[in-house]
Symmetry: C4
Subunit: 265 residues, 4 copies
């Protein structure tokens, strides 16, 4: 996923232009994030029971994009991933900022396309795929004299939402850094593993926070569905989780040639 | 999936006959499309909740056929795929036309077998697996004086259906071209990735358009279930998506030795 | 799955004994079939909605057994597979008969263990995991004078059941022969692909015939649940499908060194 | 999963410290078990229909941790796995005891985090993700005189629960030893296969015992949900299954260089 740009080898006439080294990666982040988020939003709005369909739609879409465009842009598609990779020292800060902008624009485009293509009733029922903290029927009390049943609603608290998003994003970014970047543990199966990590994380968090892990995935639908309740949760949680994962990687998990402070060579 | 015929090496007596180079690939497209569509149609008609069963039935069937017959025919099984591969310059136009005919015949055979083997009640409930634009209960209004509830139905519009099919087919063909054809990014995991791409696309589009991506998959059931409403959607959307994906590949995503106009060598 | 016994190389003292070449493979077929069927039966009796749980329980169990014991016995676990492999000329007839006996004994053991470990109510509801042709509520008629609703039941016919089992087993055996045996197309991903083939086939056939593809999987539960209705369907369909798949492989799909009549060398 | 520590090569300055050879593996077991169990518990408490979401949450989480941290600690995350690997002679007894302690602490941390982050109503409904033997509505009797319906409840017996956990854990440990340890059958796909084994085992056992296979996964939620009914089942069953699997491996399945008594070299 975070393989470096290997397309433009030295001696290759492509190498001189900005097209291969800058424009094409940004285009992949823009278009790719848009389609990745779009497939996920449609999976969410399919409204089958549980979060299985949404989890596999997001996870498998990320898997196949990572496998096919990883050599061009690294397929971050997510500001948290870019933050984690930045902390791991594998992307230049300028490029990270440009990726970040492209990812937000891609997510916004996906939110707009979903608004345009989904029928109003479907769109309203799934709030355009926007992520919000879930509300449950918690307890029901039956009044003894007239048998009327009252339901008490219960909503996930903001700090619970932030911590849940933080924890699953921590896992997500940690796995990405290990299977796609680390000298020792990186593997050709990285796209498959990264996709399945996202599936597992959305299966875990989906019923409680919507399972975002990704500010770009949350921003687009929020704009078009005008659903700003708890929206900051999906920035604070994932970005904090990514930052912690990046630090753990650099100080503890990384192979000796990348670990701080004992970086050799 | 789109590996060339490597069975008939030079010096191999097989190489001289038409059997290996023409007849056997066409037979694979005919029989393979029939079984691929058949497994999918049965998955659709199983009528479990949501589109999960249908998505995995279609996607996993494509995966395993691609892995086992990819070296013979490329396992297109879909006119959109053949169109995309044709635009990418990896199949001869004459062969593409023959593939196209075989795929339609295979899909028709699958539609006929499903009609023959499914009980009438099951067949009617799933319209023989034919793809149609979905109808939802959109809003319900309760009349204040007699408490009768009216439901407003809402159906996916033709242009929404075309765009949804176009977008997911664009993703599907793009991934196929990148993981199975492109000099840089093709991989031995291609069949697995292509299968999972189809799973993700059907999870996304299934609840709204049925998730066809494939005129051959839509034609067969439409004939036997006599379900022609919106049928053109499943030709226009997927083929347009494939054409756009083929152009994007040639002009932007392809490795330098295949990209236009800077084709070297 | 059908890799030959490579454990006993020449010069290896193991090679002389019957343990490695005969007893251990038979033990794998016996114990492996028992556990494979058992995991599947428990998945069937979990009674979630649809066939998704059963399909993945059977398919993933086969996948992991094939990956871990394929080098010992080939992991047939299914008389249809043994028949297909026999027709492809990759197992000796004597060994095939012994495998066949072991598979039936393993399936019977699984049926018995399921009877012993599942509570009566659960066991009765899923008929011990036995495969029977499904019965549906087909149509309902409301009598005009008293509003009583009558349901017409509809059951899958015997010949439909046989053909459905035949078709999916044909696909299953064909994929096994191509990815695990064929000189050209065999691949290290064979266990994964074979497992997913079984998932797809059960997703397709499960709602109609139970998705057996395997007489050994059907015999054990039938004995302990005393459920013999349509039992012959699960012998005729899978074995016929395997026989046809074996012939197609030998005459059409196989690489030139294994194909009849143009077998070279 | 049980690859040895290959990070600290000779001549590598890391090799001298305890950090690489002891502290870091224990940290992986502690933190990894915590996150693995946490993702699974959240999947269980999502309360979708059936066990599909829980099975994939646990299985895919194990898969991706095994792929990314297998080179550091072996990613046991489960006392049963450590016991099986110990019997197979691939981990030192002292290290096994330390792993065991770390796994229990990790599981307890996960149980505590789940208690903290899940709303009371959700937590109570899924008993904090604790594993208990299932209770079913077995039969219903209608009294003839007043049409009141009585339901008879039925609960999985303790010995059934132990045997079910024992059998699936036997399969789980056997597959792990074969694909990750055995000289002949170990494979680079081991993490994928081990993850899918856990999915299959939970799909099979989940509806009856909760599908633990892992005392550390059962202990943590039991403490915080104060749910001790049948808790010993989840120690006796998995550990017995692992012990039997370890013995079968050493005496029957292992390649000749590891098999007892004919150990060569």
């Amino acid at each position: 996923v975070i393989r470096k740009n290997v397309d433009g080898k030295e001696g290759d006439p492509d190498n001189k232009g900005k097209f291969i080294s800058v424009i094409r990666p940004l285009l992949v982040e823009l278009i790719g994030t848009c389609f990745f988020v779009l497939i996920g939003l449609f999976g969410v709005c399919s409204a089958g029971p549980g979060v299985v369909a949404a989890a596999f739609a997001f996870g498998l879409a990320l898997m196949v994009f990572a496998a096919s465009f990883g050599h061009i842009s690294g397929v971050h598609f997510n500001p948290s991933v870019t933050l984690g990779v930045l902390l791991a020292g594998e992307v230049q800060p300028v490029m990270a900022v440009l990726y970040f902008v492209m990812q937000l624009l891609g997510g916004i485009a996906a939110g707009g396309i979903a608004k345009m293509l989904l029928r109003d009733g479907v769109y309203a029922r799934c709030r355009g795929g926007a992520t919000v903290l879930s509300t449950y029927v918690a307890f029901n009390h039956t009044l003894p004299d007239n048998n009327i049943v009252f339901y008490t609603e219960d909503t996930v608290k903001w700090w619970e939402g932030i911590l849940i998003e933080l924890l699953v994003t921590f896992v997500f970014i940690t796995i990405i850094l290990m299977v796609a970047l680390d000298t020792k543990s990186k593997t050709g199966l990285a796209p498959v593993l990264i996709g399945f990590t996202l599936v597992a994380c959305i299966l875990a968090a989906g019923a409680f926070t919507g399972g975002s892990l990704n500010p770009a995935r949350s921003l687009g639908p929020a704009i078009f569905a005008n659903e700003w309740k708890d929206h900051y949760v999906y920035w604070v949680g994932p970005l904090a989780g990514a930052a912690i994962a990046g630090c753990f990687y650099r100080f503890i998990w990384a192979h000796s040639d990348r670990r701080i402070p004992r970086r050799i060579k």
